[in-house]
């Protein structure tokens, strides 16, 4: 029985970020009735874009920018997202590393030979290593990394036992048992190549010194960067997901914060909204928020045991993912000075400046750890309108640049409000060195966003950590967010988790949702209508020797 606006569903999802909506889509198509609640008036979480209020027609992606191969991901196809008019653009060149001496290094999106040719201008040996990794690790990506990303993580010892029976698995562990830093130092000789690989994975949220992630280096050479851009801004993708949910009969409560996860007789029974209304869940509640929000803020402390509370309290946020963003509205696109060295640089999407060596990265990481504002600036960003003119008025451009920066400044995070503009001005000066046409005359408007702004806007990204939890060895794979919850279920009956705090982490992967959907549908004995990878079967069938 429901009264006074109370409603009842099979399940409730908390948070309409991309994971929340993808999860809802899978569950709806499995025949379950599911509502999603979202505190913000616009759905999408990090898939957000704002029109510049001082320069109308210029749209700024205020959070997520670069999406990885989204049209190839299983949920994009399963949920038929192209039918919502969603288009993705594949830039020809994913990354352009711009160096201080006006040279550049280009990582192509598809063409490995072109990438190797660009690397060879810095080191023939590194180009050979890169090509060799590309060849040897392509089957690792296909058989190990890909299926693992889109499956609940297997318990580490069992995984090792299964994988080490094959040469592919041994090859994987040869690198997995080391850190990214160690592998990069060992396999590459050129400072620039080392800088490129290290910086890109730092910016993807990986922890460079953590043992267990070194496989990412050769895997990257095989999988590539696979950059794609959502036509019409990142928020267009939020609209697509929202429309998919509605088409499949789902309810979306925007502007409705969840105030409490209701626990009755030890099981999750619904959600109380901030306005007092109750949404009852006949079968399950899923939180896509971080563990502290889920277990400490939304659940009455009497209802869960102290061990689980302690786990949530100890969940750690990364010190090296927080970023500040410079947003620009421009009369013209940046003309990279490096075009003289390689004209193809004008076709690159993600532009990196100020990272000539791993020493540059070491310095900024030290500054982050010490809570200091970075002195040696490093930018990564892009100009979406080169690829998608709909994001600015005709002939005009928008650009964004990220700078790694600590959330916790020595003076406290609030200090960001005082220094953000000054930091932006410094960054504009740096940008001008790499693109001399970007100056007071060509800039229509600019504004900054600090790590503090990120956590204000998206509270699940606590301390500005957009990975929603550090990818350290204790919070990785089958230990993410902690072992008891790594399979997307929780010790509370009927309560599941599915956001970026789960395996495989942040970024627009949809994988936490995809994996949780399989778990929930099986638990509910509903229709598992899609073909999810079966990790055990795939890994059991790995050939003993290398594929021919």
């Amino acid at each position: 029985m429901t009264t006074n606006g109370d409603k009842e569903f099979d399940g409730i999802v908390i948070g309409a970020g991309h994971n929340g909506m993808i999860l809802q889509g899978y569950l709806l198509k499995a025949g379950l009735s599911v509502a999603v609640v979202e505190r913000h008036l616009e759905v999408g979480g990090g898939l957000d874009a704002h029109e510049n209020p001082r320069a109308h027609g210029f749209w700024h992606n205020i959070h997520s920018q670069n999406h990885r191969a989204v049209p190839n991901l299983p949920w994009f196809k399963d949920l038929d997202l192209a039918s919502y008019g969603q288009e993705y653009i594949w830039p020809e060149i994913a990354v352009g590393m711009l160096f201080r001496d006006k040279t550049c290094l280009l990582w192509h999106n598809h063409d490995i030979e072109q990438t190797c040719a660009s690397i060879a201008r810095f080191s023939e040996k590194d180009a050979k290593t890169f090509r060799d990794f590309n060849r040897r690790f392509t089957p690792v990506v296909q058989s190990i990394i890909g299926p693992e990303t889109f499956s609940p993580p297997m318990q580490a010892e069992k995984k090792r036992e299964m994988l080490e029976k094959s040469e592919l698995g041994k090859l994987y562990y040869e690198f997995a048992d080391r850190s990214i830093n160690d592998v990069v130092e060992e396999v590459f000789e050129s400072d620039q190549v080392k800088a490129m690989v290290t910086y890109l994975f730092l910016l993807r949220g990986n922890e460079l010194g953590e043992v267990g992630q070194g496989y990412i280096v050769p895997v990257a050479c095989a999988a590539g960067i696979s950059s794609t851009i959502s036509k019409g801004t990142s928020h267009r993708m939020a609209h697509t997901l929202n429309q998919m949910v509605i088409k499949n009969g789902g309810e979306v409560y925007e502007g409705q914060a969840a105030a409490e996860i209701l626990i009755e007789d030890g099981r999750a029974a619904g959600v109380r909204l901030a306005d007092g209304r109750i949404l009852k869940a006949r079968q399950f509640v899923v939180s896509t928020l971080n563990p502290q929000q889920t277990f400490l803020q939304l659940i009455n402390g009497d209802k869960i045991d102290s061990h689980l509370k302690k786990r949530a309290e100890n969940f750690k946020y990364s010190l090296t993912t927080p970023i500040m963003t410079l947003h620009l509205a421009l009369h013209e696109r940046p003309m990279w000075a490096a075009a003289e060295y390689d004209p193809n640089v004008m076709k690159a999407w993600l532009m990196v400046m100020g990272v000539d060596s791993t020493e540059d990265i070491r310095v900024v990481l030290e500054e982050c750890a010490a809570g200091e504002l970075p002195q040696r600036l490093q930018l990564i960003g892009g100009v979406p309108t080169v690829f998608d003119p709909t994001q600015a008025p005709e002939g005009k451009h928008v650009a964004w640049f990220w700078q790694l920066a600590p959330y916790n400044l020595k003076q406290g995070p609030e200090h960001w409000d005082e220094v953000i503009d000054e930091m932006c001005e410094k960054e504009i000066k740096l940008l001008n060195q790499y693109a001399p046409n970007i100056n007071g005359k060509t800039i229509v408007d600019w504004f900054g966003q600090s790590p503090l702004d990120v956590s204000r806007h998206l509270p699940n990204m606590q301390n500005g950590d957009w990975m929603c939890g550090e990818l350290n060895a204790d919070q990785f794979l089958d230990k993410r967010p902690f072992p008891e919850c790594s399979q997307y279920s929780t010790p509370v009956e009927g309560l599941y988790i599915a956001g970026s705090s789960c395996h495989p982490g942040g970024n627009i992967t949809g994988a936490p949702a995809y994996n949780a959907a399989g778990v929930i549908v099986r638990d509910m004995k509903a229709d598992l209508w899609w073909k999810a990878p079966e990790l055990e079967k795939i890994w059991a069938k790995l050939p003993v020797d290398f594929p021919a």
Binding site: L41, H50, P53, H56, G85, E87, G232, Q243, T390
Partner: protein, 511 residues
């Protein structure tokens, strides 16, 4: 049917485009609505444009004709979470000396209030209000929800077909305050200036709707979300960030559209809800415009004014310099007009193409009525003033900031804390911004001048007044069409009706 083939393609996901898409979808048609911008809804736009967490209605804000037509009930928008708030204190005209005239949602209260100024006007107000409501379903709804006609078969309406609002108001109301209040309601939100010929016919409509202003919980964009939610639930698709490059025309017939990325989408019917110039000059193309249409298109007149808009976020709720307590709770405050002469002086400056220094504005504090639109403890503020769409000399971008400051200084005479540290952040929108943001022609927001021949049976031009165009299967459905902007979704509804007739289907409708 392939992914790129639809029954109906609608260009523009503003309110009219979505309403017409909804009706045709309910009639079983597979409808695609294409929107150039990222956000659907056109003027139904709510954005965090000052500080994150504070939402501002950057286009339409309050809606006064929601209950004049059955459209929202037909479309079941409440079920899609569009919830209207109807504040009891509706509209206050503030005098500089702290006196005021207020309209309430309750007619008794309004009558008593007007009687403080003029007993005769209070009686006239009741008479016209009751006349409007008794003729609503018999006359006004059929008039508003069918292709344009010259008369309505209703004496009060038809007898004023040649008068201006000023003449109509002065004939029926005696006190300068009542006159000023009514003329300001003609201007905002109807888009009708006091000297517009023939627009006096709307007197009873204006009286009848002046106290039915409603705002959407969470902001106007929530209504857009409800509309496209229902569109999707009814066999429809809404593709935003999908600019249309041209309408595909084969042998004089519209057969589809081409998007800016070169994708061709096909349909039996194409409807444009964007302005006439864009529809014909850009999307149809001059080569397809019949000879007899060209001079009529040229003669079509836009209104000569646009809006100057200020959004601000405030640390405290606005205080109002008014003797009566209830004034501080009004949804709408009208400043600067204490008599019909004040209105006329203001309008004369606009019509002369000058930046008006005779100020007159409508202001509101949306978060006072819907706290969800601001961060806890903060307040949102909105100001609209009519200004010339094109200045005789100079450019809006040169004067906008200093003009905004001049206006805010003046506003603080009425709302004393609307200055200094209490104003945390402000955003100014000049007519030029309305062009770049929505591509409104010259920043005009009302779809064409509501005067003379552009009222009634010839709106927008005789050749297009029945919503059909000389190009077969191409229809029109935006604010340029009868009954114009501001009658929520009505022209979209009428377009749906005309198209349904031509397709030999019927749309579900209570009118």
């Amino acid at each position: 049917m392939s992914e790129d083939t639809f029954d109906v393609i609608v260009i523009g996901a503003g309110e009219n485009g979505l309403v017409l898409g909804n009706y045709l979808g309910k009639a079983g048609q597979k409808v695609l609505v294409c929107e150039r911008r990222l956000e659907s809804g056109g003027g139904l736009s709510t954005e965090e444009c000052t500080i994150l967490g504070c939402w501002h209605n950057t286009g339409s804000y309050y809606h006064d004709t929601v209950q004049v037509t059955p459209i929202y009930q037909d479309l079941d928008l409440v079920n899609a979470n569009a919830i209207y708030i109807h504040p009891p204190v509706q509209s206050s005209l503030l005098k500089r000396d702290g006196e005021s005239l207020t309209l309430f949602s309750d007619l008794e209260q309004t009558e008593a209030e007007i009687a403080r100024w003029s007993k005769e006007d209070a009686q006239a107000w009741r008479r016209h209000s009751e006349a409007f409501h008794s003729a609503l379903s018999s006359h006004y709804q059929p008039y508003l929800l069918n292709p344009a006609q010259n008369g309505m078969g209703h004496e009060d309406f038809d007898s004023r077909s040649d008068s201006t609002p000023l003449e109509a108001v002065q004939a029926e109301f005696k006190h300068p305050m009542t006159q000023a209040l009514l003329l300001s309601h003609f201007m905002v939100p109807r888009g009708i200036l006091s000297n517009y010929e023939g627009a006096g016919r709307f007197l009873q409509l204006v009286v009848g709707t002046s106290a039915s202003n409603r705002i959407v919980e969470g902001g106007s964009h929530e209504l857009a979300q409800a509309l496209w939610t229902e569109q999707l639930r009814n066999n429809g698709w809404v593709w935003d960030s999908t600019p249309i490059k041209r309408i595909l025309i084969e042998e004089g017939k519209a057969v589809g559209v081409e998007t800016s990325t070169g994708r061709e989408l096909h349909a039996k019917v194409v409807v444009s809800t964007v302005d006439l110039q864009t529809t014909f000059q850009t999307l149809v193309g001059p080569e397809h415009i019949p000879q007899e249409l060209a001079p009529q298109l040229q003669a079509f007149q836009l209104e000569e004014f646009s809006l100057f808009v200020i959004h601000a976020v405030m640390d405290e709720v606005p205080t109002v310099n008014a003797k009566d307590d209830h004034v501080s709770r009004a949804l709408r405050w009208t400043l600067g007009f204490e008599s019909a002469e004040d209105v006329q002086e203001h309008i004369a400056q606009i019509q002369a193409g000058k930046v008006p220094n005779r100020l007159g504005a409508v202001v509101s504090c949306p978060s006072l009525h819907d706290p969800s639109q601001a961060l806890p403890g903060k307040h949102t503020f909105l100001l609209w003033q009519l200004v010339p769409s094109r200045l005789k000399s100079g450019d809006w971008s040169d004067v906008a900031d200093s003009y905004a400051q001049q206006i805010l200084d003046w506003v603080s005479e009425y709302l004393p804390n609307m200055k200094g540290k209490n104003v945390l952040r402000q955003v100014v929108m000049s007519p030029q911004d309305l062009v770049t943001k929505w591509q409104y022609p010259q920043g005009t927001v009302f779809g064409g001048k509501s005067a003379g021949a552009q009222l009634g049976a010839d709106r927008p031009i005789p050749e297009l007044a029945n919503y059909r165009t000389p190009i077969k299967n191409l229809y029109l459905g935006g604010a340029s069409m009868h009954p114009g902007a501001g009658i929520e979704g009505a022209s979209g509804y009428v377009a749906a009706k005309v198209i349904a007739d031509d397709l030999g289907i019927s749309i579900p409708a209570s009118v």
